[in-house]
């Protein structure tokens, strides 16, 4: 187990480094800069802004400065203390630098403000997706071949095919304009998170339903289930105690990508429902050429996706004793 985690940690470091390096240079290779505007800046003013953000440096020097902990801001490298008085400490010290576009905030401020919002939206979406998906999937498997099964499968397939912003549109029409139950957009109360949570979780619920159905069907045809039935256990007990554990295994492995998908996929939903989460920065920072913010959210999502996948692999061993991480 320890070896597994250590190996993962090593790969994590390598992955992160590659992601940071590639995105850093890729972003600077893209045409257009953070301070381009439809009103051209006076030449000297533009030069000063660029100097302030070190955009006049060679990209490689910018990169070293960005990574830290060597602060190249001054003549001669100097290791930084943690007193927080320096303008910028570099990513290795946990400082993502000032945002180029939202100049009143550091990237740390922005992520600190928006991530909890995205996470609460994600949690709601995920719980909703799980509750709906598992119920539908199990029902579908139990009544296999009946009209209920066909109906549920149809809905689930549609749910996967329809993107979440379309679902959002229908939800807004239904629950804001026809039945005025929820606010149309914005953030501030739990009611603001209901519609976006539903819209965001919808496609995932559909996918979970399909996974659960397949998993349950496979398990229900296994010998030990037949044995359980033969022993005269009530069907409820067979289902809840014996079948579900194996049947939801595919869902568990899907949880990692699903969580990551919900967090990253929230960008459209966040925009439509005006939720001030991290998702919108994912796109806007790239459009604004807000180099530091774009790097910050890229790093954030790399860390999230990687650690969630590791957590899922870990959870596997708890549900299925046959899986040994040391061997894999």
């Amino acid at each position: 187990m320890t070896r597994f985690l250590l190996r993962r940690l090593m790969w994590f470091a390598i992955t992160l480094w590659v992601v940071v390096t590639v995105s850093f240079f890729l972003m600077r290779a893209v045409r257009g800069g953070p301070f381009d505007n439809d009103r051209a800046l006076h030449e000297s003013i533009e030069r000063n802004i660029k100097a302030r953000y070190h955009l006049d440096w060679h990209p490689f020097k910018q990169y070293l400065h960005y990574i830290g902990p060597l602060n190249l801001d001054e003549q001669g490298p100097e290791f930084l203390g943690g007193d927080g008085t320096r303008p910028f400490g570099g990513v290795l010290t946990g400082d993502f630098g000032p945002s180029f576009k939202y100049r009143d905030f550091t990237v740390n401020d922005i992520i600190g403000q928006s991530l909890p919002i995205s996470v609460s939206l994600g949690v709601i979406a995920l719980l909703w997706a799980l509750a709906l998906g598992l119920t539908v999937g199990i029902a579908s498997a139990l009544w296999r071949g009946t009209r209920i099964d066909v109906g549920l499968r149809l809905v689930a397939t549609a749910g996967i095919a329809v993107p979440n912003f379309t679902i959002a549109g229908f939800l807004v029409i239904g629950f804001v304009f026809v039945l005025p139950l929820f606010p149309v957009a914005g953030y501030g109360t739990w009611r603001h998170l209901v519609l976006p949570g539903f819209a965001l979780g919808g496609p995932f619920a559909a996918y979970i339903a399909r996974l659960t159905r397949t998993g349950m069907l496979e398990v229900l045809s296994q010998d030990y289930i037949r044995t359980a039935h033969a022993k005269g256990l009530p069907p409820r007990t067979v289902l809840l105690r014996h079948a579900i554990k194996g049947g939801v295994l595919p869902v568990v492995s899907y949880l990692g990508p699903a969580t990551a998908g919900i967090l990253t996929g929230s960008l459209v939903i966040e925009r439509i429902f005006a939720i001030p989460g991290t998702g919108s920065h994912f796109v806007n920072s790239a459009l604004n050429r807000d180099y530091t913010l774009a790097m910050g959210v890229t790093i954030l999502y790399t860390v999230l996706v990687y650690s969630l996948n590791t957590a899922v692999d870990f959870a596997y061993t708890l549900l299925d004793p046959r899986i040994d991480l040391e061997e894999s």
Partner: protein
């Protein structure tokens, strides 16, 4: 295998508790963010870049900054005439170059500081200082010496020979005082103070380091023994900044007799007196505080719209104590900290209570504001919603009281409503032509292109809100300025009445065909070139480009391609001039033709067409110096005539405003710059609303007026306010 019930249930309980905890956490997170609904909520369209008035140039930023800060003058909400702001009154000298502003005695910042003329000197020095990176710094270059100051300081800041930042002065028999630029002290970011690296008694070798500024060593080529070090220096940054390059000496050296004269002779060091005379803000720039409440501004030449500039938000003041205290407390990050809601000091009708990135800025009434008795709304929320569909939904459900960009597709349905009243807007939609690229270097081709744009089709079927087709560049509605259009039958027809316009357009097309043939293209001539219309990704721009492309194809037989680019790439393409024809727009900063016409002077940053005309440049320059308003306008009209004759740009239409405003809101007036002033806003009660509806055109469709039925009026009597 048997397990105790507890062991069997523990994992399930734990899992259940975890899920419940997650849900509760998520919900309470959201609940904890609850804010009481503000008195007034509007959608600002995007998160603002910063609250610092000096460094921004955007419309959303302007809306917030006008609520937070107040300049010497403010604008009348509908006529835009200058009204007293921080200045109670002002006078202009006979030759129209010296303004004297008398600040009101009761002007206060919300931290209790008196608002004085020194605040404006401080703020404007900061504004002109290129290290502040003020995007609009050129708007103050009308002041005597201001432009030179910016350039001088600029050269200075980028002095390749860093040591030139030290000045040296003889203070007695072989005693030399060494100082450092106070400007640099003030401007160096991140608390980079000048730190002496030598102490009393040290022997200094020629060329050695005497101090460090922001980590960079400052060398002095004068050898000697250090007599004294000015230890108080780092703490006196702000005082030094104020005195520019005053008496802020750094250390005293004892040098060999005659060594200073020798060094000066060799040009190794800069003489203090010369240094100060050359660089001092006070001595060179025509901005001076005559006393606490009197500010004198000397202009380089008469500038008829100077008061409009003074009322323009980049010239609004910032609080000196606000900035310097932040700098002392958080040397590395003060630039982010001084405008945090808990730190910011404002002098306008509102101040900041709360900010959440990409969500909202909550403004709250500033009780210290001199005119607070006439400010009605206690709290205002500015939302940062960029999704147009969400924005209109919020308006239609009454969550938002004002939006300025409804979706174009629903404009026809909005037009009859009482809450939607498009008004002329000082903005021009046009195409830039790259005149260096053949065949656009041929004036006949440009003329043909300009004549075959069906402007009426564009305004009636695409933009739909009542935009006016444009055959000129400067929008109508500028007082004293006459319309100068390109020669077009369609334009003449349009002016005469819509029926003639189609006829006129047909004749324009005929002429365009003839011009193309004359230029050697078309039947019997050279093969018609392929033209690429370049625009930034947007539905409206695409639709307009398609109509124009279709027209050029059908009427001139040209091959036209469309090229859409994402905003920043599009800007880069324009800047590097790698386009044929590129979609553009310009919104005037102030109500004067200059804000439009000065952009096309030869080599101007915003020209981006490659076009230049000496006569044009001269006319713009002459207008800047002209004291007589009529003659000045005539210079501009002549300049525009040249522009419309040579057509480096193809005018298309003039903008209108697209505000959707809660009909209950009072004090909100249309104006040509689409600027609105929260200080005048109030909620009408039902009686006043009914009275207003009684006089509005009968065909206007009434919509529900949300908001307090009893109204919300300023603390002073309701008389004399918008009734």
């Amino acid at each position: 295998m048997t397990r105790s019930p507890a062991a069997r249930w523990a994992p399930r309980l734990a899992a259940g508790a975890l899920l419940a905890g997650l849900l509760a956490g998520a919900l309470s997170m959201a609940g904890g963010a609850r804010l009481e609904r503000a008195d007034f909520t509007f959608n600002n369209g995007t998160e603002v870049t910063t609250l610092d008035p000096a460094t921004v140039s955007g419309v959303p930023e302007g809306r917030i900054i006008r609520a937070l800060f107040e300049g010497l003058c403010i604008k009348h909400p509908s006529t835009l005439e200058p009204l007293p702001g921080a200045a109670e009154r002002w006078s202009l000298s006979e030759d129209r170059t010296v303004y004297t502003f008398h600040l009101r005695e009761d002007g206060r910042w919300n931290n209790g500081d008196a608002l004085t003329a020194h605040d404006f000197v401080f703020s404007w020095e900061r504004f002109l200082n290129p290290l502040t990176a003020a995007e609009y710094a050129y708007q103050l270059w009308y002041v005597e010496g201001a432009r030179e100051y910016t350039h001088l300081i600029d050269d200075f800041a980028y002095q390749p020979d860093w040591d030139q930042n030290l000045w040296v002065e003889e203070r007695g028999e072989s005693i030399v005082r060494v100082g450092c630029s106070g400007y640099l002290l003030a401007a160096a970011d991140g608390g980079d103070l000048v730190a002496p690296t030598v102490g009393p008694g040290d022997v200094h070798a020629a060329g050695g380091t005497v101090a460090r500024l922001g980590g960079r060593p400052l060398h002095l080529s004068l050898a000697g023994r250090v007599r004294a070090v000015n230890a108080a220096l780092p703490g006196e940054v702000s005082a030094l900044a104020r005195d520019a390059y005053g008496e802020g000496w750094l250390l005293e050296l004892e040098v060999a007799p005659g060594a200073l004269a020798e060094a000066l002779g060799r040009g190794d060091v800069v003489a203090g007196a010369a240094f100060r005379a050359e660089r001092a803000f006070d001595e060179r720039v025509g901005i001076r505080a005559l006393d606490e409440h009197t500010l004198e501004v000397r202009l380089a030449s008469p500038t008829p719209y100077f008061l409009q500039l003074v009322a323009f938000y980049p010239l609004f003041p910032v609080n000196r104590r606000n900035l310097t205290e932040a700098r002392e407390r958080w040397p590395g990050t003060w630039e982010l900290r001084w405008m945090r809601p808990e730190n910011i000091v404002t002098n306008g009708p509102y101040t900041v209570e709360f900010r959440r990135v990409n969500d909202r800025i909550r403004l709250v009434k500033n009780p210290a504001y001199w005119d607070a008795d006439r400010v009605a709304l206690g709290t205002i929320d500015a939302l940062a919603i960029d999704h147009l569909g969400t924005s209109i939904n919020l308006y239609l459900t009454g969550e938002v009281d004002w939006i300025d960009r409804p979706i174009t597709s629903i404009i026809p349905r909005l037009l009859p409503r009482e809450d939607f009243n498009p008004a002329p807007y000082l903005g021009s939609y046009f195409y830039r032509v790259n005149v260096d690229r053949p065949p656009f270097d041929d004036l006949r081709v440009r003329k043909a292109l300009a004549l075959t744009i069906d402007r009426r089709a564009i305004t009636t079927s695409i933009t739909k809100a009542g935009e006016e087709p444009a055959w000129a560049f400067v929008p109508p509605g500028l007082p004293g300025y006459r319309k100068v259009e390109l020669t077009s039958e369609a334009a003449r027809g349009f002016a005469a009445g819509a029926e003639d316009a189609a006829d006129g357009f047909a004749r324009d097309v005929e002429r365009a065909r003839a011009l193309m043939a004359e230029a050697g293209f078309g039947p019997g001539g050279a093969e018609l070139p392929t033209i690429e219309i370049h625009y930034n990704t947007d539905e409206t721009h695409k639709d307009v480009a398609e109509v124009i492309a279709d027209g050029w194809k059908k009427r001139l037989g040209l091959n036209v391609k469309l090229l859409n680019q994402e905003w920043k790439v599009y800007l880069d393409t324009q800047k590097t001039r790698t386009f044929d024809v590129s979609r553009s727009a310009w919104i005037g900063d102030y109500a004067d033709p200059n804000t439009f016409l000065d952009m096309f002077v030869t080599g101007g940053e915003n020209n981006r067409t490659g076009w230049g005309n000496l006569e044009y440049d001269e006319l713009i320059a002459a207008a800047a110096l002209e004291a007589d308003p009529t003659r000045r306008m005539e210079h501009f009209a002549e300049a525009e005539a040249i522009l419309m004759d040579e057509l480096p740009i193809l005018p298309i239409y003039f903008y209108v405003t697209r505000n959707l405003v809660n009909p209950r809101l009072g004090g909100f007036h249309p104006n040509v710059v689409d600027e609105h002033f929260p200080k005048h806003w109030y909620w009408m009660d039902d009686a006043e609303l009914a009275a207003r509806r009684a006089v509005q055109p009968a065909e206007w469709v009434e919509v529900p007026a949300r908001g307090p039925a009893e109204g919300l009026y300023p603390p002073t009597t309701r008389e004399g306010r918008g009734r």
